[in-house]
């Protein structure tokens, strides 16, 4: 090259001296093999996930057992904090959703049963489904979205900023300090929230009965009492602690799985929410089959 300006010459010289070979393309397996590889990986990961979940649940249970034997390690202030966050602050939204769900059920019930003249059965439909299924399911899904995500994100950020390591060096057990208070708080709040949703759902049923069926509140209560018994209430409430364990364990486990980056906090939080909602619904289905078989 001739006639280059001096400053351009420097640039040309610098670039000419660089190793400019593009990176060698990574060898890729053919498409059908990649599909098999991806399927195998996903399968292995799911299996590992399952064992991790069992392992974490076991360790959480061991920590709870240890705390029962030595209640000195319990942290009342942390538990109270998480009860406020997961329970008290969720009251308005849980109540509102419970009312909405019974409105939906009542409208569908009236619409479907009216041609057969069975619209009065709407009250049975609403009260049975709210007490047995809807209240606990809606509450658990809501809490999984609110608190499961919060658990994963809070613990995840602590993990990525090395705070979990700092705890370990100080001889403090993250299981006891972070997981146990959240688990205990959720074990307390989820059944209480479910009961609150039961009450709000029945109140919603009363309001809708008045407007759709012209059944007054005084007539409504005896009808509800005829439709359901305490067994229906218990079937709903007994599921709440199980869902609480699933939500708390999934949230905390995914939080502790976070690695350095901020992206990883987002990924694990999403996984925690999706997985706990999935597990809640699957378990609810299993519960339904179980209760059907034993005839409750």
């Amino acid at each position: 090259m001739i006639g280059l300006r001096a400053d351009h010459k420097r640039l040309v010289k610098l670039v000419a001296g660089l190793d400019r070979a593009p990176p060698a393309a990574a060898k890729q397996a053919p498409g059908w093999r990649r599909l098999i590889i991806a399927t195998g990986r996903a399968g292995a990961e799911t299996l590992k996930d399952f064992f991790d979940f069992l392992d974490f649940t076991g360790r959480a249970a061991a920590t709870l057992g240890q705390l029962l034997l030595h209640p000195g390690g319990l942290r009342p202030s942390a538990i109270a904090h998480h009860i406020t966050e997961t329970g008290v602050k969720a009251l308005p939204i849980v109540g509102l959703l419970a009312v909405m769900i019974s409105v939906v059920l009542a409208y569908q019930g009236v619409a479907q049963l009216l041609p057969y003249g069975g619209q009065d059965l709407t009250i049975d439909l609403v009260s049975v489904s709210v007490l047995r299924e809807m209240a606990v399911l809606i509450t658990a899904i809501l809490v999984a979205g609110r608190s499961g995500a919060a658990f994963a994100a809070e613990i995840g950020v602590m993990k990525s900023s090395e705070e979990i390591d700092a705890l370990k060096v100080m001889g403090l057990d993250p299981m006891q300090l972070l997981v146990a208070p959240r688990l205990i708080a959720l074990l307390i709040t989820l059944p209480l929230l479910t009961f609150f949703a039961d009450v709000m759902g029945l109140i919603g049923g009363a309001v809708i009965s008045q407007s759709l069926l012209s059944i007054s509140f005084d007539q409504y209560l005896p009808l509800v009492r005829k439709a359901v018994d305490s067994g229906d209430l218990l079937v709903g409430l007994i599921k709440a602690p199980v869902f609480a364990v699933v939500i708390a364990v999934t949230g905390c486990m995914h939080g502790l799985r976070v690695t350095g980056s901020a992206e990883s906090v987002g990924i694990e939080t999403t996984r925690a929410v999706v997985k706990s909602i999935f597990l809640v619904i699957v378990l609810d289905a299993l519960f339904s089959i179980f209760f059907e078989k034993v005839g409750i």
């Binding site: 602590m158 900023s161 090395e162 705070e163 390591d165 700092a166 370990k168 060096v169 100080m170 001889g171 403090l172 057990d173």
Partner: protein
């Protein structure tokens, strides 16, 4: 008070092997930390300095090899023993963001001692002052502190239980030169006055040459240990690559100017 292992080392690691995937970061590393010394661990990025420190702290389990703290496997230490034996300063401080600085310092005291709250408050203030922070910093939350203050606050927390060994991960990284000099001075002072053994991972050459009694350089999965002066004369390729160049020359010149008295001829360990 010490019952260290016979050769006078307070911590030691033998035959440490760490692999991540196909990459071998540590390939049989032996290192002894002598009681009372300041040991610097240096090496290029990715040479596994932080992993080695985490291995010493018992936070990372190596694929092979063992770490002894006070002659006992570090994994066997009870939580309270571990907290009393070592304090660790993490690269980004790792202060608990929901607690104030003073509460951060008091957390290990609350968990591992019988001290009442009235006794903990002045102790926390003392640790804060030792780390060179104003008393007012104690009531602040970590997010309200500057980078240098975070390191000092984290150092105060690491000192909470008067540990015998301080593990510092890049204490001067990300600080301006003045703040970094302050941290260097603080490390020297804590070592001299409190007699605490310090293991410091750093690639800050000033810290290596003006604070450390011995320097360990990690290169190619192996470690080479010696006094700063000896390391500078080392002609092994990995060590020489790391400890040569204009920045090293400048830091060496600074060391000759300000060398602390105890450094002359003080050759700890083997």
């Amino acid at each position: 008070m010490t019952n260290s292992s016979p050769d006078g080392s307070i911590m030691s690691a033998h035959g440490i092997v760490n692999r991540f995937g196909k990459q071998t970061v540590h390939n049989g590393i032996d290192i002894d930390v002598a009681a009372g010394e300041v040991l610097g661990i240096a090496g290029g990025s990715g040479s596994g300095k932080s992993v080695l420190l985490r291995t010493l702290a018992g936070l990372h389990t190596p694929q092979a090899g063992k770490v002894l703290a006070d002659g006992r496997p570090v994994a066997d230490l009870l939580p309270a023993e571990r907290a009393a034996f070592m304090g660790m300063l993490f690269q980004h401080g790792a202060l608990f963001s929901s607690l104030t600085v003073a509460e951060n310092i008091m957390l290990p005291m609350r968990e591992h001692t019988q001290l009442s709250n009235e006794e903990q408050v002045p102790l926390a203030a003392l640790k804060l002052a030792l780390a060179g922070l104003e008393p007012a910093a104690g009531s602040k939350v970590p997010s309200a502190l500057s980078g240098g203050m975070v390191k000092r606050a984290a150092l105060a927390r690491a000192l909470a239980l008067d540990p015998r060994v301080l593990l510092l991960d890049e204490p001067t990284a990300g600080l301006d030169p003045t703040a970094a000099d302050g941290i260097d001075e603080l490390i020297t002072q804590l070592n001299d006055v409190l007699g605490v053994t310090v293991v410091v991972v750093t690639h800050d050459l000033n810290t290596l040459f003006s604070v450390c009694d011995r320097v360990a350089v990690l290169a190619d999965g192996k470690i080479t240990v010696g006094t700063p002066a000896k390391m500078l004369r080392d002609k092994q390729s990995g060590v020489h690559d790391f400890l040569s160049g204009p920045r090293v020359d400048a830091a060496r010149a600074a060391m000759v100017g300000t060398a602390k008295p105890k450094q002359q001829g003080a050759e700890h360990g083997k």
